[in-house]
């Protein structure tokens, strides 16, 4: 297990190193941030001054090593747009994204578990069909459309819940549900198919023959064995919820990492783009590693060769 963890850690570090080069090069290939921060009537002198002040006049190789050298100590430089240390912006935004992702994931689990299990147990009934509809809609309706509809009606016209911001618990509901619906759909389908398979297995039949209560058969014996793909899905999706909620964060004016990334990209804010990409990549790598380790806890039969 330890060897496996160390090997995966090494893999992740190599991936991050490659990613740092890719993001450094691609961020600069898309344009000059000075075209965004300097006024339209800026002179050549203004450009030269700003370039020097921001350290953009140095050779690319020097800029890259300076970026990497500082990044390993947690210093991602200063935002070209906000003129504040990027690490400060990350500290402000990452907790908001984590909180929203946790809320969305919690809501998704609360809905997907009973729905998935009931759909499997009551296969072919109205419950199953209703669950299927939830799944199809959740995976086919575009997130931005769901978000806009919720804001327009639930917040704007009916005034039931806040439209934006991260000011209160109520303000988590609409972005959380928008973000979580897709996860509900995926998790519910996965759980349903896993449960159907397990419920048809020999050991579940044996348990029933031995007179174990049906509730215990379903919620303990069957569910535990149908969980592994769900755990993988949930782990990966939590990382995705944290790192890719750009649309939801934009529509609901949620000050999270997704919005920071979006603003960084549109304003060619290299330090922010680099920091967000590396931070999100680190989160994804860490979550993947965590999920792999969790397998062994859930199912001790799983052993790692490396």
């Amino acid at each position: 297990m330890l060897r496996f963890v160390l090997f995966r850690l090494l893999q992740s570090l190599v991936a991050l190193a490659i990613l740092s080069v890719v993001v450094f090069v691609l961020a600069r290939a898309t344009g000059d941030p000075l075209h965004m921060i300097l006024p339209m009537n800026a002179s050549e002198e203004d450009y030269a001054n700003a370039r020097k002040y921001l350290g953009l006049d140095r050779p690319y190789v020097e800029q890259y090593f300076s970026f990497v050298g500082r990044a390993v100590t947690g210093d991602f430089g200063t935002s070209i747009r906000a003129r504040r240390p990027v690490i400060e912006l990350l500290r402000e935004r990452l907790p908001n994204s984590l909180k929203l992702a946790a809320f969305a994931m919690g809501a998704s689990l609360a809905i997907a578990f009973p729905l998935g299990v009931m759909a499997a147990v009551k296969k072919g009934t109205g419950v199953d069909r209703a669950a299927q509809i939830v799944a199809v809609l959740g995976q086919s309706l575009p997130t931005f459309w769901v978000a806009i509809v919720l804001v327009e009606f639930v917040a704007g016209r009916w005034q039931w819940l806040p439209a934006g911001g991260a000011d209160s618990l109520a303000s988590y509901v609409l972005p959380g549900l928008t973000l979580g619906w897709f996860v509900v759909a995926g998790m519910m389908r996965l759980l349903r198919s896993g449960m159907l398979e397990v419920l048809d297995s020999e050991y579940v039949k044996l348990a029933r023959l031995k007179g174990v209560a049906e509730r215990k058969v379903v919620w303990v014996h069957a569910l535990k064995n149908a969980l592994i793909p769900v755990v993988t899905f949930a782990g990966i999706y939590f990382a995705i919820l944290v790192t890719t909620a750009i649309v939801v964060e934009t529509v609901f004016a949620w000050p999270g990492l997704g919005r920071l990334a979006y603003d960084g990209i549109t304003s060619r804010d290299f330090p922010v783009i680099q920091a967000v990409v590396l931070t999100t990549a680190t989160i994804v790598a860490a979550v993947n590693l965590g999920v792999d380790c969790l397998y062994a806890v859930i199912d001790p039969r799983i052993r790692y060769s490396r």
Binding site: T30, G31, D32, P33, H35, M36, I37, L38, P39, M40, N41, A42, S43, E44, E45, D46, Y47, N49, A50, K52, Y53, S79, R81, A82, R83, R84, L89, E92, R93, I148, V151, E152, A155, G156, R157, Q159, W160, L161, P162, A163, G164, G165, A166, S168, L169, A170, S171, V173, T250, V251, F252, A253, P255, R259, L260, D263, T266, S267, R268
Partner: protein
């Protein structure tokens, strides 16, 4: 199961009760929801005019202006100013008893320090360059007197340091910045404005709280003012409906809907000109648009009235003068005559193309992008390309974002290609500053005109000290820009700002990038 349902329903009802709209509460807060915050820096020297609308609540200018853009001795820290006979020494008399938010007195040393800081190499404000060129020295003969000594005679110094332009005229606290450093100042700015800084969450909001009594507006009407960054319009409107925002920028297409619901919508008329131009080559204009007839043909081929109606929902007016920022027209005595307006004349446009040797038309690249305050950008580019197609000019639309176009423009790597911008309307000096960059050959980087006659007139304006002669020069520049068709002025757009039903009278003014939110705080 029934009890579970009951718990869920009760929780939802509680949540809804907690989240009920804010309009039931007494208003001591003013919330402004905007689609863009531009650079989001709180240091006036690190950004230009784009950040004025929130900075002008925290900082006062040396020279104030009225909401319609006229210099005002009542609105700035200088209560009066005068110049020497040769217009090379400008003396500004400062208001006494004005204090910074940290309690220190505002003096001439602060003014000198602020100006030097605005002109420093670190500064990225819009007019740092011209000020560096103009200012030789800044003297502080008394705590309430500043003398700006110029390298050459000019009338334009007060305007450069006023609220009508960028942020160079904002007065900053010398002692506070020297004691704490630039970074601390940028995070916790201190000014003399009616509102003090409280909190900034980049990408989310900027919060300020009122001073007890401000020299300009007295006791502010609102205890707190919050600027919220809300990129999605549906969300801004929902905030307005819930009473969680008092002012919001909205798109032209939703104006009628909001007015129908009873929300007052205030128009900033002719807030920007939608102006197109051709990228110059390293040596200037390139064929086919080097030929004046081709430029005129491309102008005549566009039905401006139809664009104003169909693309901008009727909230726009046809434009006729390239780079003709209309808020300056009255000041310099310029009038757009009916003959100057471009008629929609396809037949004449085709004839002009034929006369220029392009009877079969030609192909040109058109960069298509959206801009803050110009969400219609791409459909506008498509519409114009459609008109040009009718006279045989095939436009290859290149979907990019603005920085990509700007790079092509200033690097001169795509000569003859077309781009555009919603250039903010401004007064005559603002217009002059724009011309000096975009229509003046020596400026190189941004030039779009390359006309020696225009160059000569622009050079004269800066040194001219007779206001009548300046006005005449400005009028001649406009006339020449129009007669040579140095660009494609399409429409002036009006920008709507919706307010809550209870806010009352609001005048967003006619000063570029300023919404005069502080005027709302005046009791």
């Amino acid at each position: 199961m029934k009890s579970t349902t009951r718990i869920i329903v009760t929780s939802l009802l509680l949540l809804i009760a907690v989240a009920s709209p804010a309009w039931a509460q007494a208003k001591s807060e003013l919330t402004v929801a905007l689609s863009s915050f531009s650079a989001e820096t709180l240091d006036p020297a690190l950004q230009g005019h784009n950040v004025k609308y929130y900075l002008s609540l925290m900082f006062d200018y040396l020279v104030g202006v009225t909401p319609d853009g006229q210099p005002s001795q009542a609105g700035g820290l200088a209560s009066k100013w005068e110049s020497s006979a040769d217009h090379r020494r400008w003396t500004f008399h400062l208001r006494k008893g004005v204090k910074f938010h940290d309690g220190s007195d505002m003096t001439s040393e602060d003014v000198k320090f602020s100006l030097q800081r605005a002109m420093s190499k670190r500064s990225t404000t819009g007019y740092a360059g011209p000020l560096r060129t103009l200012i030789a020295d800044i003297e502080t003969p008394a705590p309430d007197r500043v003398v700006i000594v110029l390298k050459e005679s000019t009338l334009i110094i007060p305007t450069y340091l006023s609220r009508s332009l960028s942020t160079e005229g904002m007065v900053l606290p010398k002692k506070y910045i020297e004691a704490n450093g630039d970074d601390v100042f940028a995070r916790k700015p201190v000014g003399t404005g009616p509102y003090k800084f409280v909190e900034q969450v980049v990408g989310s909001h900027i919060k300020m709280t009122a001073v007890d009594n401000h020299w300009r507006i007295g006791v502010p009407k609102y205890k707190n003012v919050t600027f919220k960054l809300v990129p999605e319009e549906t969300t801004r409107i929902a905030l307005l409906r819930r009473g969680e925002a008092d002012v919001a920028d909205v798109s032209r297409e939703r104006v009628k809907e909001l007015e129908k619901e009873g929300f007052p919508v205030h128009m900033r008329r002719e807030e920007a000109i939608i102006h197109m131009w051709w990228i110059l080559g390293p040596e200037g204009r390139t064929p086919p648009t080097k030929d004046k007839r081709v430029r005129e043909a491309l102008n005549l081929a566009i039905d401006r009235a139809e664009i104003a109606q169909s693309i901008f929902g009727g909230y726009a007016e046809p434009a006729a003068i390239p780079m003709g920022l209309s808020w300056a027209f009255k000041e310099v005595g310029f009038k757009v005559t009916p003959e100057m307006a471009y008629p929609y004349d396809v037949a004449r446009a085709k004839k002009l193309l034929a006369d220029a040797g392009y009877a079969g038309g030609f192909t040109q690249d058109v960069y298509a992008f959206q801009l803050p305050g110009f969400a219609e950008g791409k459909s506008f580019a498509e519409a114009v390309a459609g008109y040009w197609e009718k006279i045989g000019v095939k436009s290859k639309l290149i979907p990019v974002d603005y920085p990509a176009f700007r790079k092509q423009w200033v690097d001169r790597k795509a000569p003859g290609a077309v781009g555009y911008y919603n250039i903010a309307n401004r007064d005559w000096i603002g217009t002059y500053a724009l011309l000096e960059k975009q229509a003046y050959t020596p400026s190189k980087l941004n030039d779009t005109v390359n006309d020696p006659e225009i160059d000569g007139m622009i050079a004269q304006v800066m040194r001219q000290t007779d206001r009548e002669k300046i006005n005449a020069l400005m009028r001649n520049i406009y006339t020449r820009m129009r007669s040579e068709h140095h660009g494609v002025p399409v429409v002036y757009v009006h920008s709507p700002y919706a307010t809550s039903k209870t806010l009352g009278k609001y005048n967003p003014g006619a000063v570029m990038y300023d919404l005069f939110i502080d005027e709302l705080a005046r009791k």
